[in-house]
Symmetry: C2
Subunit: 199 residues, 2 copies
DNA sequence: GGGGCATGCTACTCGCGAGTAGTCTTTCAA
DNA sequence: TTGAAAGACTACTCGCGAGTAGCATGCCCC
């Protein structure tokens, strides 16, 4: 009970931090701003986090973990390479779009992370690239894909999706699911799979 | 003569600012740092720039203009849609990789630009997306490409290339030109063009 | 050879914001 | 009903870095 309340308050702080860091940037946001938005004062935040940079790490790391989980679980699926790639791309795209502010903050404010937190997250990203690249390599080996350089293709693919944090608008023309499926079609084409376009 | 010296000093300041902003971030770099690196003092910088944020704009804007120029000139080429797209992609990729630090700074530090500078640069990016999207649309209309949603495809394409600022290493396996050509192949595939893969 | 201007420097101001010390209040247990 | 502890606040400190006022030096032109 006590713990749940504590966890809830922590979450509320993080939510507000995400909103403000996203809108004004990390250095453009003060702890007083966050506290004011929550209707509390700055020392309150210090009872839940060691400081501003810890707040940043706390809001980046779980999101990167989700992205890694999305591709990892897709890669472990008992399915064809094409199906696995499709799931990896839709899953990753959904994480990027559902947690767009967190993703944006991470990519923009990476330089402000504490060295150890940065190292941890960087390791996660290395894994991510490795899994995606492996997916392409295996598919090519199985004859399902036609890819010249799977490392480069993985980076290109990752970029195509990650980049969506810069342009996606929740109120826009396409829903998250629609965008994810379009992205998967584009990705499969990049991998050399013939994808039929509906009219 | 006088003017040339002035312009040279300006350029030196910008070069050093790019290095430091790229390595440590905008807020992580002080004007004293830049001055020290140049072997001068802070007020020297103020004789060439109004302040820190003007420095930022001065190092972002020309780079974005170069990117726009690359795709615009490719789009104006008297050639097939496939050729035009290929030129647009290789040209844009080269700008991103040759001016990687500037591109990185722009995308990371956008939030620190003065409102008017931000507006100008944002307008350039809108044009960029419009040109790229038009290239895809025209190609599809001419039957050269097979694209369901050319706006989305333009964003995906733009992201695939832009993203290279996060991973490209000049000392790495691929040269700028090689990378640019691979990117063009991937882009054409995304556009539904059959591209043969060597080996 | 001296007035004046360009150029860069020394030595400040000043505000802001992260982080903290110590106080007040509320709640619960005995 | 009182004592203690949790939880949050008030009211600071303190360093840092952007930006500036005014001085020194050297160069050129008359």
């Amino acid at each position: 009970m006590r713990d749940e309340i504590l966890a809830y308050k922590r979450e509320r702080i993080l939510e507000e931090a995400v909103k403000l860091f996203y809108a004004r940037g990390f250095t453009g946001t003060t702890l007083d701003d966050i506290a004011a938005e929550l209707g509390v004062t700055k020392p309150f935040i210090y009872t839940h986090f060691r400081g501003k940079v810890e707040l940043l790490a706390a809001l980046c790391k779980p999101t990167i973990e989700m992205a890694l989980e999305a591709v990892t679980s897709a890669a472990a699926l008992p399915a064809t390479p094409t199906e696995r790639l499709r799931h990896a791309i839709t899953g990753f795209t959904k994480v990027v779009l559902q947690r767009q502010p967190n993703i944006a903050i991470y990519f923009r404010e990476e330089k402000n992370l504490a060295p150890d937190a940065l190292a941890e997250i960087t390791a996660l990203r290395k894994q991510f690239d490795h899994v995606l690249s492996g997916l392409l390599k295996d598919g090519a080996a199985a004859g399902a894909f036609e890819i010249e350089d799977h490392s480069l293709a993985a980076l290109a693919l990752g970029g195509m999706i990650s980049w969506a944090y810069t342009w996606y608008r929740p109120a826009g023309r396409l829903s998250i699911d629609e965008t994810a499926h379009h992205m998967a079609d584009l990705a499969l084409r990049m991998a050399g799979v013939r994808v039929a376009i509906p009219a």
